[in-house]
């Protein structure tokens, strides 16, 4: 199981970083989403991987899953979901306002000063 989780994290991260380095906003957004999935699984596994144990300390005491990473993952999921929605909207607006979905910005031109119109 360790191999499965570790390789899943690795593949997600690699795919995420590759897509993030692309020049158009849509692959970049997908890359960020993949990266956030990788982070979520990674955080989850930081509480150590155990099977079939409750996330509370039972009467016996010693055998349990660490509940804290699960709480962290929940928070991280909520935040990354909201962020993905935001970046999609901003990328769309950027596309509509500038007519291109390239990520790069034009270098500031000495003459027009449009930067702070």
């Amino acid at each position: 199981m360790e191999f499965l989780v570790a390789s899943a994290i690795g593949v997600l991260t690699a795919g995420g970083i590759y897509l993030m380095l692309r020049g158009r906003t849509y692959p970049v957004v997908l890359g960020l989403a993949l990266l956030s999935y990788a982070v979520n699984v990674f955080l989850f596994s930081m509480g150590r991987l155990v099977v079939n144990l409750p996330p509370v300390i039972g009467a016996a005491g010693s055998e349990y899953t660490d509940p804290l990473p699960q709480a962290l993952v929940l928070t991280a999921i909520v935040i990354s979901f909201g962020m993905t929605a935001l970046i999609v909207v901003m990328a769309l607006r950027s596309y509509l306002e500038s007519g291109t979905d390239h990520v790069g910005i034009a270098p500031v031109d000495g003459g027009d000063g449009q930067g702070r119109a």
Binding site: V39, I79, M83, L86, S94, E97, S98
Partner: protein
Amino acid sequence: MSHWIIFPIVLPAIIAPLIAMAMRHDIVLARVFSVAATAVLLGLGIALMSVASSGQIHTYALGDWPAPFGIVLVLDRLSALMLVLTAALGLVVLLHAINGWDTRGRHFHALYQFQLMGINGAFLTGDFFNLFVFFEVLLIASYGLMVHGGGGERVKAGVQYVIFNLAGSALFLIAVGLIYSVTGTLNMADLATKVPQVAAGDQALLKTGAVLLLLVFSVKAALVPVHFWLPGTYANAPAPVAALFAIMTKVGAYCIIRLYTLAFGDAAGEAAWLAAPWLMPAALITLVLGILGVLAARALGQMVSFAVIGSMGTLLIAVALFTPEAMSAALYYLIHSTLAGGALFLIVDLVADRRPGQGDAITVAPRFAQTSLVGGLFFLGAIAMAGMPPLSGFIGKLLILDSARTALNAGWIWGLILGTSLLAMVGFSRGGSTLFWKSTAQPSNFEAFAPPRPALPLVAASLLLGGSVLLTVFAGPVTRYLDETAAQLFAPLGYVDAVLGAEGGNE
């Protein structure tokens, strides 16, 4: 003393939705509430600072959960200082913004208050995951503020800014996960006690996590390999927002100071001072690159953005020395560069506003309204930023140079700081003389079309420069406070005891 610590977070958190929901159609009411709330925040900050200056560290356990299990807020000299600085900058920038910037888009004041809430929270919290959450709060608000007013280039720069910071957030979570996996805690004070006990086999994981965190904070502080977001963001952001962002880079610096003195200091065993060998070269390169950017800039906003990068380099050089004297100097420079950076961004807006068609581009153009007044303000700001004698930048750099005398690489530090100061002067003189002096020689009919200018933006920029003057005049008392702050930072046991001790909860 019990509940006041949380007010700098709760007050903007209440005001912001109130403005967004109840006052969305009434800009005057929103302005009144926003300015009043920020003024109250400043008063609150000063009151908390006077409480913290006694040297006792106060904690506030949320929900009264005891410290390592619940989230704590911690008020010490450093966090109180940062609260006051944030509120002061926030209030002055708001005075500039209410002259029209806030009507160019929607929800400016609500986002502004959320931004202040996030920044205050980041300064107060004593828990890593909570720090992540407050980072996200301040980032979400800053995304909104960054694209305030819209426009193709600005939204594009905003998209870059968001992407960069989302990647930074992912790294933050990975780092926090790594540190949690080997120490089993997210509480900063608890971490300080757990780091020395980490088993030898887990040291590599711990160090990886700690250095990744340094990278994340460096993204915020715009340190060199990860500074690329700053020039595009600051130069394209609305002027008041860029001025407020002067404190955002300081959030990164604050986190570096906090984490690496508290948890990775002398007591950390094998992981002691592991940030220093990474931070120092990065800071030196940041300084050089920033000032080269000042020389190469083709627009005033760009020039100030690169000057901010350079000042972060200077600041983090002093931090990377990790001695109490250098830390005190770094904090002095931190206050100074926040004020100077904020003032310069406001002045850039004054210039751009008066040059229709030219904006802030460094070109020779017809004379514009109030050239001498705005030019005077710009030169004062440039003097402060470059570190010339009458203003606080000079004292800040002097303190840093003095504290670096005995350092291993003192030659590099002295040479680069002094050399880049000269280059910064050259860069600012070039920009200023082109804009204000050469332009003056050209015939102009600006009186014919110049609308009446409100005085408040001029007052706002002057107030920030006045802060720099005050910082110079009262350098003695300020330095005394900062010396005590640095001493408190380098005695992390006091912090740990305050958070985890028997008196840790609400008094």
